[in-house]
């Protein structure tokens, strides 16, 4: 049964000021209702004034996603009552959006490139934020923070071109990467992206899942929905066309047929704003290098694998970091960033921008010059990451190697270890002598453990053999 998925994605644009007033958008770590004014509080008599920068940001997105900008775009009012909506309506675009008909290329489930159609994009204002409190000794209550009110959002609507939850996830990742390359979006910001997903199984009704606020959540919600809908169809139950809410914590969707959902938004043109005519601006926009172009360049310039190139360009921060360390050895750096560093960072829930590139480059240099083993390299990296995470001044890898004595074995440093391992495991030695090669691997493993990974396993292997042969004389 074919799965048909379309997404409506709301992204906060990272402009300095809000969509219709001069309030700063940077309210992280600030008290509630500190970034507000008569306009974003919707005070009686206040009027919206369009921030030119937000239009510029949105047009960059339109161009990067290959959309056609309309000759005339019109802000409309979407009327509905909700306590976080200070004016009783949201200013958005309705029948005349900013741009229409574009596409973004992703990799389909079978690995081939695939264009996902973009139906339209438009600008709108974010409402405030409700904080629900429940007290033990009193009834629950809600507080409203209007710092978020008026933050510019861009809504991106896709055609129903996605065929699986994984594709949807890949689309979102690619979209996020593209928006970040354009410097119009900060995906790390809490609530920066919110997704509504429309999903149907071919020949059946469409269901809308609202309220998904993470990339992982989209995949989860869609996977849940497919299972739920398939089960209903199997039992011969009709799929109802409805809106469902995704419960992030429980990983399920629930029907939301409450009265508030059945809105007639009574759209009409916002009378306090003039129609927007910005199609001419698009020509003047110069796009930066986008993820696909950067990946191609990485392949050419650094001669790295397709997989590494994709991983390294999938996030602008990683790409920038890689380019900052690639001089120390492009291929080794690619492996170490893509295969090792990212995993270690994820394990620690750390961002790559916390790692000083010169330190990491130094580590790559030590590896390139063969002064430490891979295993010692990992240990050095962990020292480095832990220092960064704990806010300590990180040491240069070369100093960590010296202090922790992690340098590759030189001379007879390991002679004692080899001798004691051979002495302590006479059975294994006997097995080896009688022709069991596997026993030698055991001995090498024991010795590696003793050297805390500083030794080259091949070198140990040679030393142990030589030692045993010398003993047998």
């Amino acid at each position: 049964m074919n799965v048909i998925i379309g997404l409506e994605i709301h992204c906060q644009l990272s402009t300095k000021t809000k969509l219709f007033c001069g309030c700063s958008t940077d309210y992280r770590d600030e008290g509630p209702n500190t970034h507000v004014c008569p306009v974003c509080l919707g005070l009686p008599g206040a009027m919206p004034r369009l921030n030119r920068g937000t239009v510029d940001y949105a047009l960059r997105v339109a161009k990067a996603l290959n959309l056609t900008v309309l000759d005339e775009s019109v802000f409309s009012r979407k009327n509905y009552f909700y306590p976080d909506l200070p004016k009783g309506y949201q200013i958005t675009m309705y029948d005349k959006p900013l741009a229409e008909r574009g596409w973004l290329e992703i990799e389909a489930d079978d690995g081939t490139p695939k264009r996902i159609g973009i139906t339209r994009i438009h600008l709108e204002e974010d409402p405030g934020r409700l904080v629900h409190k429940t007290g033990r000794d009193r009834a629950g209550y809600s507080l409203i923070d209007y710092n978020r009110s008026g933050i510019p959002l861009i809504e991106i609507v896709t055609d129903p071109d996605l065929r699986s939850p994984k594709e949807a996830r890949r689309f979102l990742n690619k979209l996020r990467a593209t928006l970040e390359y354009l410097s119009v979006f900060d995906g790390e910001r809490e609530g920066a992206i919110r997704v509504d997903a429309n999903i149907s199984l071919e020949g059946h009704n469409r269901v809308e899942c609202k309220n998904i606020s993470s990339y992982k959540g989209v995949e989860k919600a869609l996977t849940f929905e497919i299972t739920r809908q398939k089960n209903l169809i199997r039992r011969g139950v009709h799929i109802v066309r409805e809106t469902r809410h995704f419960q992030e914590g429980r990983g399920i969707t629930t029907s939301s047929r409450s009265k508030e959902e059945e809105n007639d938004y009574r759209y009409f043109p916002e009378p306090d704003l003039l129609p927007l005519r910005v199609a001419d601006w698009v020509e003047g926009i110069v796009l930066p290098e986008l993820p696909d172009a950067r990946r191609e360049r990485f392949l050419r310039q650094y001669d790295i694998s397709e997989n590494h190139a994709r991983t390294l360009t999938g996030d602008i921060r990683i790409a920038e970091f890689y380019e900052a360390v690639a001089l120390a050895g492009a291929q080794l750096a690619a492996t170490w960033v893509a295969d090792t560093l990212l995993g270690e960072l994820a394990y620690r829930s750390m961002q790559i921008d916390r790692i000083p590139a010169d330190h990491f480059a130094n580590l790559i240099t030590l590896l390139t010059e063969g002064r430490i083993t891979d295993r010692a390299g990992v240990e050095v990296l962990r020292h480095l990451l832990d220092a960064c995470r704990e806010g300590r001044e990180p040491e240069m890898p070369v100093d960590i190697v010296a202090r922790e004595n992690l340098g590759k074995a030189e001379g007879d440093e390991f002679a004692d270890i080899v001798a004691s391992v051979v002495r302590a495991n006479p059975d294994a030695v006997a097995d080896y002598v009688s022709g069991k090669e596997g026993a030698l691997n055991f001995l090498v493993g024991m010795a590696m453990k003793e050297t805390r990974g500083r030794a080259d396993p091949k070198d140990l292997n040679r030393r142990i053999r030589t030692h045993i042969e010398e003993e047998r004389g």
Partner: protein, 433 residues
């Protein structure tokens, strides 16, 4: 020189909702001039209720652009004047704080919705006041009270801080006893304001001139049609004869679009109002309601309790007109009709310089006399066309009928407020002489 004055004249007409006893003023073109402000124009630190209980106790933290300009010109803001709730009315009887009486006859309405501002001027409490005009709300009370009121060209005066009723129709404008004073205040409040995206960079620096020789004055037949009181028509024709005597050329004309102007007007203003007034949900303004109900039930209860009948009626009409399936039939259609009105004005005003006619079809009626909303709406027929077209219009007193004032309305081309002021001034100077 900047200073203060005391404002304690007795208000026998309930013109004011809020007054300051000690009024500060500054230096400038209007230095020391006491000005009253309609209660739908935001004043920092002074209550602003739009004549509604839903905004009881609301004190704006900011000044409307026009108030900033008045203060900068040295005027003293004496207080806030009564009005039909949110501007919805023609008599000022729809105020939650009681009606205002007409100083010309305290048993009669002062007109509306800027009735408090007009009564404050006509009663001699202040030399000038600000009103707002959505469908005649400055000109109607000016005519009923026997003073001068100007509705400027749409976009010529910033609406920033004017609590919106119908954004595409309304304009702030001055009311005063004389054309000169109206013009003086207009010179201060007009001009571009970047906070109002619809505002135009067309300042007003005019000094009225009584020289109107050769001015072509169009007189549309529809302005003297059904529903227009004979005596009022007669006074206005006399006034037009005065203009002719002063050298103006009188040109009969027609404005067929008047037939659907009222319908277009009421669909537009109620639709916009239904959205504008949505923010009054009891969460931020007005006394809190102690309720244990869910959001939506609480909103409904509060709005049913705090909005007056006329406001509720217009919210419901507008909500209906914007509903899915009806938008095209009502709001969109009203905009088409509106364009026809605009085109009618453009056509007529390409041949003549101004249009003249009565401001109101009748003189002021008795308090409580009209209770049927429809007959009340019909009395706006001569004022709403100028709002639909966005053109400037002034009302200047043209005599009385049984002691009740009648108003001559002069309507001009877009951004030619100066021209309507001049014609009104010429008339005023001639009859005063």
């Amino acid at each position: 020189m900047a200073g203060t004055f005391t404002f304690d004249a007795p208000d026998r007409w309930n013109a004011f909702l809020y007054r300051q006893e000690t009024v500060r003023y500054g230096d400038g073109a209007l230095q020391g001039l006491p000005v009253a402000i309609k209660d739908n124009i935001s004043t920092a630190g002074l209550p602003t209720t739009c004549g509604s209980r839903i905004l009881e106790g609301y004190v704006p933290p900011y000044d409307a652009h026009v108030v900033t300009l008045l203060k900068a010109a040295g005027a003293g803001i004496v207080g806030k004047t009564n009005m039909d709730e949110f501007g919805m009315g023609t008599t000022t009887e729809n105020s939650a704080y009681g009606p205002t009486a007409n100083p010309a006859d305290p048993g009669r309405v002062p007109g509306g919705s800027s009735g408090g501002s007009a009564a404050a001027v006509a009663g001699g409490l202040v030399p000038a006041a600000l009103g707002s005009d959505t469908g005649g709300s400055i000109r109607c009370p000016a005519a009923f009270c026997g003073i001068v009121g100007l509705k400027p060209t749409y976009s010529r005066v910033s609406r920033y801080g004017l609590i919106a009723y119908s954004n595409t129709l309304e304009q702030i404008g001055p009311l005063a006893a004389t054309v000169s004073d109206v013009s003086r205040v207009m010179a201060v409040i007009a001009g571009h304001d970047r906070r109002d995206s619809t505002s135009a960079d067309r300042p007003y620096t005019h000094t009225p001139s009584a020289e109107i020789r050769g001015t072509r004055v169009g007189v549309p037949a529809e302005f003297f049609g059904e529903g227009v009181d004979d005596a009022v028509g007669e006074r206005v024709r006399d006034a037009i004869a005065v203009l002719e005597h002063l050298g103006a050329e009188i040109v009969p004309c027609t404005m067929p679009s008047m037939a659907f102007a009222l319908a277009a007007y009421y669909v537009t203003c109620t639709s916009e109002a239904s959205s504008n007034l949505a923010r009054f949900d009891g969460v931020r303004y007005g006394p809190a309601v102690d309720t244990k109900k869910q959001w939506h039930a609480a909103f409904r209860e509060l709005r049913g309790d705090r909005f007056g009948k006329e406001v509720q009626r217009r919210i419901m009409l507008g909500t209906f007109a914007l509903s899915a399936g009806y938008y095209g039939k009502y709001y969109a259609k009203a905009q088409v009709a509106r364009k026809a009105v605009r085109d009618d004005f453009t056509r007529v005003l390409s041949d003549v310089d101004v249009i003249a006619g009565p401001t109101m079809p009748t003189t002021a009626w008795r308090l409580g006399e009209k209770s049927d909303p429809l007959s009340m709406y019909l009395s706006d027929i001569l004022t709403v066309p100028a709002n639909l077209a966005g053109v400037p219009a002034i009302s200047v007193p043209c005599g009385t009928i049984n002691g009740l004032p009648a108003g001559l309305q002069i309507i001009g081309r877009h951004f030619e407020d100066e021209q309507v002021v001049d014609v009104a001034y010429a008339y005023e100077q001639e009859v005063l002489r």
